[in-house]
């Protein structure tokens, strides 16, 4: 069973339905016991970093997420679920994250321009963008380099350890769009909204033991 962590934010139903579509059994839950007993854990999310951390804390899920990762369960972070793994975000000043991965979360600068010139790029970074593979990993097996995935975000992660970088994406700057470290897979894009390729990625995650 895959536990989709419910902390009261985001479109969790889509994540659950996408996992079910690829044959996995997925439950949306905020019950610590169910999450700790699950074979794999998905931390989805859109919205504000601060609210996400506050809600996880209120529901006593900070330790649960940490423990799930420490136990070596396959773990998938999506969008905000990637960002909160890091030390801190510069959203609303400084907000501490889970601190599981070293690094921080930054906002796209306002004056980003394509290749350094032209009209400023829009924020949020919203839509389908290409993903460059930086490190082979089991979820991306068979996914062609430069495939399109769906993004919607205004912040991006800046990992301190470059070995964790699985994919990068260009939006005025080249930012890290995917992380892979031991049992942790985490993506800035939304596989559950990325049609066939996204579903294929979720299917491979669902098969991890």
């Amino acid at each position: 069973m895959i536990a989709v962590v419910d902390y009261g934010m985001g479109n969790l139903r889509s994540v659950q339905k996408a996992l079910e579509r690829v044959g996995a059994e997925a439950v949306v839950t905020s019950d610590p016991a169910r999450i700790l007993n699950a074979r794999s854990v998905v931390l989805p999310g859109v919205g504000a970093f601060r609210d996400c951390m506050a809600n996880l804390e209120k529901l006593n899920l900070l330790e649960v997420v940490r423990k799930s990762i420490e136990k070596g369960k396959p773990f998938l972070g999506i969008c905000l679920g990637l960002q909160v793994l890091f030390d801190q975000s510069e959203e609303f000043g400084r907000v501490p994250g889970l601190g599981i991965l070293p690094g921080e979360v930054r906002r796209f600068p306002d004056n980003l321009r394509p290749n350094g010139n032209g009209f400023p790029l829009k924020i949020p970074h919203m839509g389908w963008n290409t993903v460059s593979l930086r490190k082979p990993n089991s979820l991306f097996e068979g996914v062609p380099d430069q495939s399109y995935f769906y993004f919607v975000h205004s912040y991006y992660v800046l990992p301190r350890n470059p070995d964790m970088i699985a994919t990068t994406t260009d939006y005025g700057i080249e930012f890290v769009s995917g992380i892979q470290h031991e049992n942790i897979f985490a993506f800035q894009f939304h596989p559950e909204k990325s049609q066939k390729l996204g579903l294929a990625l979720l299917e491979r995650f669902a098969r991890l033991q």
């Binding site: 139903r13 889509s14 829009k122 949020p124 919203m126 839509g127 389908w128 290409t130 909204k193």
Partner: protein, 278 residues
């Protein structure tokens, strides 16, 4: 590179798609869920449902449509039409919508957009703007909005440079005296994550998007702008992006009636140098 998005829009009334959709092999040409799945198959980048159900009491039907669509289709889904309260937004997101489009409720209470963005995040709040070009001999209109004294700068003034555009509600019937460009900027400042901009002059005419309107707004705001209203040919779509500076293109009838298919549209735009996801 970020691709420009092609977004088919379905008008849904009482749970059924109106203005029929001409897909072959559909068991039920009026079923929004089936049509959504067909568009996903074709490679549409997103989907928009516009709920034109007249009665607020029948909103549960639309939630069911969204629920079923979210089970079948794994692409971003925006739902608009009749969104008035934070509860409406919450229900749509919970049912599986990714974004919610707000139009009249924002005009009646701009702060509603701020509250919505604070509660649910900018990424899911789309402000839909229906705009018409202001004629040179436009009579002075007294706006009847409760907040006009709080934000007087958002209204049209006799001294405004032309062309200028006015915000309308109720499908282009009710002029509101609001300056569309300044309105779009304010909506961005209140936390809207995207603007869905419809030219009421062009809507249904197939004479092309209002490029000046679209460009004026796209260059004034820092959030993505979806152009809508008037697309009839491939050239119109190309111009919408290149001259109108649109980040995404919304169209209804040209796709529904198969005047153009999504794959041929994307191949054409890509051949002219527009980044497209094929």
């Amino acid at each position: 590179m970020l691709a420009k998005r092609i977004i088919p829009c379905l008008d849904v009334k009482d749970g059924r798609v109106v203005k029929g959709v001409n897909f072959v092999n559909l068991r039920d040409a009026g079923d929004p869920v089936e049509i959504a799945a067909a568009y996903e198959q074709e490679g549409a980048d997103e989907l928009t449902f516009l709920d034109i159900t007249a009665s607020h009491e029948k909103r549960e039907i639309m939630l069911d449509v969204v629920r079923h669509t979210a089970e079948k289709v794994f692409m971003p889904l925006t739902v608009g039409g009749g969104v008035r309260t934070l509860e409406d937004i919450r229900n749509l997101l919970k049912a599986g919508a990714d974004k919610v489009a707000i139009n009249t409720a924002a005009v009646h209470d701009p702060e509603f957009v701020r509250r919505a963005a604070e509660r649910f995040g900018s990424q899911c709040i789309v402000v839909a703007i229906d705009a018409k070009q202001v004629p040179e001999d436009r009579p002075e209109v007294q706006p009847g909005l409760s907040w006009q004294e709080q934000y007087p700068q958002l209204f049209l003034n006799p001294g405004d440079s032309l062309p200028a555009w006015e915000v309308f509600t109720h499908g282009g019937r009710n002029p509101q005296g609001i300056h569309a460009v300044r309105w779009a900027i304010q909506m961005g400042a209140f936390g809207a994550g995207e603007i869905l901009l419809t030219s009421m002059d062009r809507d249904g005419t197939k004479t092309g998007y209002d490029l000046k309107l679209n460009r004026a707004i796209s260059e004034a705001v820092h959030i993505p702008v979806i152009a809508s209203g008037g697309a009839g040919t491939l050239d119109h779509l190309y111009e919408g992006i290149v001259e109108g500076k649109a980040d995404a293109l919304l169209a209804a009838s040209i796709f529904h009636f198969k005047e153009l298919t999504i794959p041929e549209t994307k191949r054409y735009l890509k051949s002219r140098g527009i980044p497209m996801r094929l």
